[in-house]
Symmetry: C2
């Protein structure tokens, strides 16, 4: 599908057809396309809890403003942002460091520099830890929404949930933030979409101080 | 350009051709395509400082690990995330509320519910304020990178900069976080790209606790 059609055609849909499941193959294709998103030092601090089971969706719906789409969408992705993925010893960081050295992007004796850079950019305050985890995971989540559209799927990114209660329901460790839930499925064709919401123009986006 | 080619072809390039400028029209098209990204209550907490002037780029380069691409890329976007865009009185919020009422998405007497929802989801802690601003702005930034590729441009998202010093250089008010600098231009064709970095597989991304 042409990129322009994907980005203009992507809508946050409120009504999913509960009769149309998303195949495991299609979900995998969507996730792996989205995982091509870039990330800080390639640390990829994103993970997903995949919720398909009707009872689990029902429990989640209760914690998400009781929105029917949580149960109606065949798949809900609980999107997780790992606030500790910049720490030495984290398996993804260690894998990356090895790869960077193998490709000559860094030399082995830059290890200390690398650790200090990660600490100063991503570790030294709550603000920085949160920004690191959420930024990179949101790159991935935006790519998920677009990859879904490309594959004929619809999505809805959701903020309206009780963060602590959802954390508890899925036993999510403290190192993760939950930036969003993402409903994935097929738009229910007998419902009507409202017109797209307004957007800021180029002139409204560009600022000087 | 096909979406799959865009997402697989997007690379963070380190070398930009300083002789190939980005036209104002193309930059505007890129930004307005990206601005179709979704955001929490459509609050669009993203802004850009557009840096093209050689002297300004030079000053910015000094604050960004002296990376040559900051000067070589014809455009550097200082990407800003507004941590206050959920507050009553913010012009974008007020515009959205009016539009939501006009389209029947909310009724005027849901104003108090709306304000309380914004406060509880985005306002009640530093973590939540930061996550709100950075998440939505990162949706926009990911869309910027993909829209750029679709339009034949290359990009590089940068973390390696002194946050406070860049804030000072551009007089960025405290309400904004700077999640990234984005270099935009054309890959310098006499340079070679390293192979794409590894990515986590579907099985590595999906977790249960």
């Amino acid at each position: 599908m042409d990129f322009k059609d994907v980005i203009t055609g992507r809508r946050s849909v409120n009504f999913f057809d509960p009769q149309k499941p998303v195949s495991d193959d299609l979900l995998k294709e969507m996730v792996e396309l989205a995982a091509l998103a870039p990330s800080s030092f390639n640390l990829q601090p994103w993970s997903l809890v995949v919720v398909k089971d009707a009872e689990r969706k029902k429990s989640l719906q209760k914690l998400a403003w009781d929105q029917p789409k949580v149960s109606e969408a065949p798949v809900i992705l609980v999107v997780l942002a790992d606030r500790s993925a910049w720490r030495p010893g984290h398996p993804v960081l260690e894998h990356n460091f090895e790869e960077m050295v193998a490709y000559g992007r860094l030399t082995a004796d830059q290890r200390q520099w690398f650790e200090e850079a990660c600490m100063s950019l991503y570790g030294e305050s709550i603000e920085k830890q949160q920004a690191f985890a959420v930024k990179n995971t949101a790159f991935f989540a935006m790519a998920l929404m677009l990859a879904a559209k490309h594959l004929g799927l619809d999505t809805h990114p959701m903020d309206g949930f009780d963060h602590q209660a959802v954390r508890k329901l899925f036993n999510v460790p403290d190192q993760y933030w939950i930036p969003l839930l993402l409903a994935v499925g097929y738009f229910k064709s007998d419902e009507k979409l409202l017109p797209p919401k307004w957007r800021k123009s180029f002139e409204q986006i560009v600022v000087e101080f």
